[in-house]
């Protein structure tokens, strides 16, 4: 068997410890080792954004991060976006604006959009489109996603 490495990290505010092989990606560790399957695999080479998570507040595609690199890091996944049983304004806005169809890209979009709003609470359409250009959606044509992010930003400022 391959050697496993012990990794200590913080995921969605909770200290977690897990064992992984050096060749396993963070995406694989989140999904298969830790059971956090909200983070999706779409391409496994950093081009679709479905596996987007925040790592020490940086937006990363978790398929391009090794599990061992999570040592000592703060990771936020889609499972950590809602505030307890209350949805995050972005999550509410996605639902109200019908900004998802199949929903498989949605976790990545919401995590990425949260990082945008944390940095720029008042983004214009162009800024939203540029920021979300790392995330592919094949169902919506993006229109309703852009509107949802605009609405969430507006609500957060209100």
């Amino acid at each position: 068997m391959h050697n496993t490495v012990r990794v200590q990290t913080t995921i969605n505010g909770e200290a977690r410890e897990f064992l992984c092989e050096p060749r396993q990606s963070l995406l694989e560790c989140l999904r298969d080792v830790l059971g956090l399957t909200g983070t999706k695999e779409g391409c496994n080479d950093g081009n679709c954004g479905a596996c987007t998570v925040l790592m020490d507040d940086r937006v990363v595609t978790s398929c391009l991060v090794l599990g061992v690199e999570a040592q000592g890091a703060q990771i936020t996944t889609i499972e950590g976006i809602a505030r307890g049983s209350d949805l995050h304004p972005l999550q509410r806005a996605f639902l109200q604006n019908a900004a998802l169809q199949c929903g498989v890209c949605t976790p990545g979009f919401i995590v990425a959009a949260k990082a945008l709003l944390d940095r720029e609470p008042n983004p214009n359409e162009e800024q939203i489109r540029l920021w979300l250009a790392n995330n592919l959606c094949r169902c919506t044509g993006y229109d309703k996603i852009i509107r949802a992010v605009e609405q969430a930003a507006e609500e957060a400022r209100a």
């Binding site: 068997m1 092989e21 060749r23 396993q24 999904r31 059971g35 956090l36 399957t37 909200g38 983070t39 999706k40 695999e41 779409g42 391409c43 496994n44 080479d45 081009n47 679709c48 479905a50 996944t77 889609i78 499972e79 976006i81 809602a82 949805l87 972005l90 999550q91 996605f94 639902l95 109200q96 604006n97 019908a98 998802l100 169809q101 199949c102 929903g103 498989v104 890209c105 949605t106 976790p107 919401i110 359409e125 939203i128 489109r129 540029l130 979300l132 250009a133 790392n134 995330n135 592919l136 959606c137 094949r138 169902c139 919506t140 044509g141 993006y142 229109d143 309703k144 996603i145 852009i146």
Partner: protein, 749 residues
């Protein structure tokens, strides 16, 4: 019922599965976990065309952690017969051969062997130890290439079917068919302007974000349990049972949430392999495709060679139209050329028509449906030629289309005569839209229009509805929900029951738990499963009227129901109050609906698009885009808009960027989402939508189905806009910068 009477239909409730999908809780196929799970990996052909001389799996089988290895020889060799793969009949050997190659590989990526191991990494490593001895053969990669004399033959036993008759000619043309109507020669003789053009379109992929996946357990009681992402759980059940030679009742398929399909998740690739690996190991086996596998080994939609000739009189009336459609089926017969032929002139009322269709096998993956399959290729050709004729006649392109638009009573060359359709209404809405007369506002800009059609389908659907004591209902259905159909179906039940959409709890269940339901495809789900829900809801209402009659000791016939209130003489009771009294009035109430509806209503769509063409680089920017579509009746307008926007943007990608870029030996050179460039948020403007509602007389609420027609017109509209911006008529897809520059330079010379 007229529109004003609706209280649920036409509103925009939050979808029932919404919270799970914005929090990451929704479980898609790849999220399925089970104790003892093994991981499968499929070894795929590095060659586009080769004979398999020998496969040696011994080293792989001996690799530590490997539990099983299998090849096509492990499948039961059942006698040849036709099987329904969800979109018509196919010889069993083709279905089996695509799942694991037998004797020959027909495209790069063709599955050759499979390994199950303790981890995906071990399985992948072990698969690398499988030795396959190939005799590499020359390949044919496009329809014209495969049709020429002396082309490499994919299937030595494939004989061309010509005009419905089986010939003895062995070739790559599986079928040549013809639709003819009127007198084509007289029609062209009458024409004062005739335009004939040739077009080539590239193979493109549906591009769903979730790769194919399947988990199977061959249980100790002999039952095969499958969990997967599919557009049709019953198709997976039936195909898996067929390939494994067991009765359908031995297979139970649980459809997990599905991350996009667009037609590409109708075919079955992994489930029978996972099941066989499970049989060999006694443990559940999960297989997930990589993105490269998805490109190389799932079912893209055909590339095509098309010739269209249209003639018209000076008064703007089309007198004749002829089409030659040669579509690439990929490795096995079944290119989407039949629907292409149905749609090529479907938007026009033309007396004299000839359409020739060719279904051609080539050394590319076996093609599958993609949103109005076959129609987009054809409409690109037709709408380009129509535009050129309108220009030659000096007519406004929408006026020209209006003058020739298909309407009630128009006969299509493939046979059907239209009932009430909304083609004229769509064109009129385009004409009226402010976009059509807005200034373009700069140089190198142009505006184009185009229209398109998709016929939509019916097919069987089943639902049950059980009433809860708190006045809500549970709705059980078999249609995979890819884009919000739980809600559009639940809304139709709610409308009948007179309760809010939120009081209906829809659940998509496994194949043991609901009656047969055909695929989520053909724009049929809101139409047909919605109809099943409508029937089930009426069944509930009938039973509740009996209960009210019992309570009041009156005749059931005297009880009426309107908007959730039951009445007889001076008595009344609400749905909710009555639901609380089921125990006193006879026990549970369960309604059922099982339909196989006729009365399908086709949908027309149209686009107005403004582009800017950079004359130095050939880059096309979409400045403004308006999509118009006849929904019949929009049950949930937000999700109708979403279909229109999503189909439009897929088609913008098809028009401008996307293609299988093949090298000469049949390897796709751009099999990643970096190089197969689908539109990003940054590439697009907002997509404006106009929903036209010409009710379909064949559906209780007038629904037509809106999933597909929206993808049909954009390439034609964009090509026409490019012409008005840059002065070049494009004759191929994609219209990427090299293609545009080539056309511009050719024109300068």
């Amino acid at each position: 019922m007229n529109t004003e009477e609706y209280s649920v239909i036409g509103t925009r409730p939050v979808r029932h599965d919404g919270a799970d999908k914005v929090t990451g809780r929704a479980l898609y196929g790849a999220d399925f976990q089970m104790a003892g799970l093994l991981h499968g990996f499929i070894l795929r052909s590095p060659h586009a065309h080769a004979r398999i001389r020998r496969i040696d799996t011994r080293k792989a089988a001996a690799f530590p952690g490997v539990q099983a290895v299998l090849t096509a020889d492990d499948f039961p060799q059942v006698p040849e017969r036709l099987v329904d793969l969800g979109e018509g009949d196919t010889p069993l050997s083709y279905a089996r051969g695509n799942v694991l190659a037998q004797g020959k590989v027909l495209y790069r990526g063709h599955a050759v062997a499979a390994v199950a191991a303790s981890s995906i990494h071990v399985a992948e490593e072990a698969a690398g130890l499988i030795e396959v001895d190939y005799e590499v053969l020359p390949c044919a990669l496009t329809a014209p290439d495969a049709m020429r004399e002396g082309a490499p033959i994919l299937h030595e036993d494939l004989k061309t079917k010509e005009f419905g008759e089986q010939t003895s000619r062995v070739s790559n043309v599986a079928e040549h068919f013809r639709h003819a109507m009127g007198d084509i020669d007289a029609g062209f003789a009458e024409a004062e302007v005739t335009v004939e053009r040739e077009f080539n379109t590239a193979t493109v992929h549906q591009g769903y974000i979730e790769p194919h996946n399947a988990t199977a357990l061959w249980n100790n009681d002999g039952r095969i349990l499958v969990w997967c992402s599919t557009q049709g759980a019953f198709v997976v059940r039936d195909v898996t049972a067929c390939l494994l030679d067991v009765p359908v009742s031995r297979v139970k398929v649980t459809p997990m949430e599905i991350g996009g399909g667009f037609g590409g998740k109708i075919p079955v690739y992994l489930e029978p392999v996972a099941a066989l690996l499970s049989k060999k190991t006694g443990r559940p086996v999960k297989i997930v495709m990589s993105r490269k596998d998805v490109f190389e080994a799932s079912g893209p939609t055909p590339g095509s060679y098309i010739k269209v000739k249209i003639g018209a009189r000076k008064d703007g009336r089309i007198t004749a139209a002829q089409a030659y459609l040669a579509y690439e089926a990929g490795a096995y017969p079944g290119a989407m050329v039949a629907p292409g032929a149905m749609c090529v002139f479907a938007a026009y009322d033309i007396a004299n028509v000839v359409i020739d269709g060719f279904d051609v096998v080539v050394n590319k993956p076996s093609t599958a449906a993609y949103r109005a399959p076959g129609a987009t290729n054809a409409a690109f050709a037709t709408e380009s030629v129509v535009d050129e004729i309108a220009e030659k006649l000096g007519m406004d392109p929408l006026d020209f289309r209006l003058k020739n638009a298909a309407k009630q009573g128009t006969r299509r060359a493939d046979g059907p005569k239209y009932r009430r359709i909304g083609c004229i209404e769509v064109i009129e809405a385009m004409k009226k839209h402010p976009h059509y007369s807005a200034p373009l506002g700069g140089p190198n800009r142009g505006r184009g229009v185009a229209i398109g059609f998709w016929f939509n389908v019916g097919l069987p659907s089943s639902c049950t509805i059980s009433v809860n004591a708190d006045g809500t209902v549970n709705l059980v259905e078999g249609s995979t929900d890819i884009g919000g159909t739980r809600t559009s179906i639940a809304m139709q039940a709610a409308e009948v029951l007179g309760i809010p959409a939120e009081a209906v709890r829809p659940t998509v269940v496994d194949t043991d738990s609901v009656g047969f339901t055909a695929v989520t495809g053909g724009s049929r789900t809101t139409f047909a499963t919605g109809w099943a829900a409508y029937e089930a809801a009426h069944d509930v209402v009938r039973q509740l009227r009996d209960r009210a009659a019992k309570l009041w000791e009156v005749e059931a016939a005297s009880v009426t129901m309107d908007r959730g209130v039951f009445r007889a003489a001076d008595k009344s009771i609400t749905f909710q109050e009555l639901a609380a009294k089921l125990d006193q009035t006879g026990g549970p109430v369960v309604g059922r609906g099982a339909v196989n509806p006729r009365g399908v209503g086709g949908s027309f769509s149209g686009n107005i698009v403004d582009v800017e063409v950079d004359p130095e680089t050939g880059k096309v920017t979409i400045l403004r885009f308006t999509a118009v579509q006849d929904a019949g009746k929009a049950i949930h307008p937000s999700y109708v808009e979403g279909q229109m926007q999503g189909g439009s943007v897929q088609s913008i990608g098809w028009a401008l960027n996307e293609e299988y870029w093949m090298n000469g030996s049949g390897t796709m050179m751009n099999s990643s989402l970096l190089d197969y460039r689908m539109p990003t948020a940054l590439d697009l403007p907002m997509i404006d939508t106009v929903i036209v509602e010409v009710p379909n007389p064949g559906h209780p609420f007038g629904v037509r189905g809106v999933g597909e027609a929206n993808i049909v017109p954009p390439p034609g509209a964009i090509a026409n806009a490019i012409y008005h911006a840059a002065g070049v008529r494009m004759d191929r897809l994609p219209m990427n910068p090299p293609a545009i520059m080539e056309a511009i330079w050719k024109q300068r010379d």
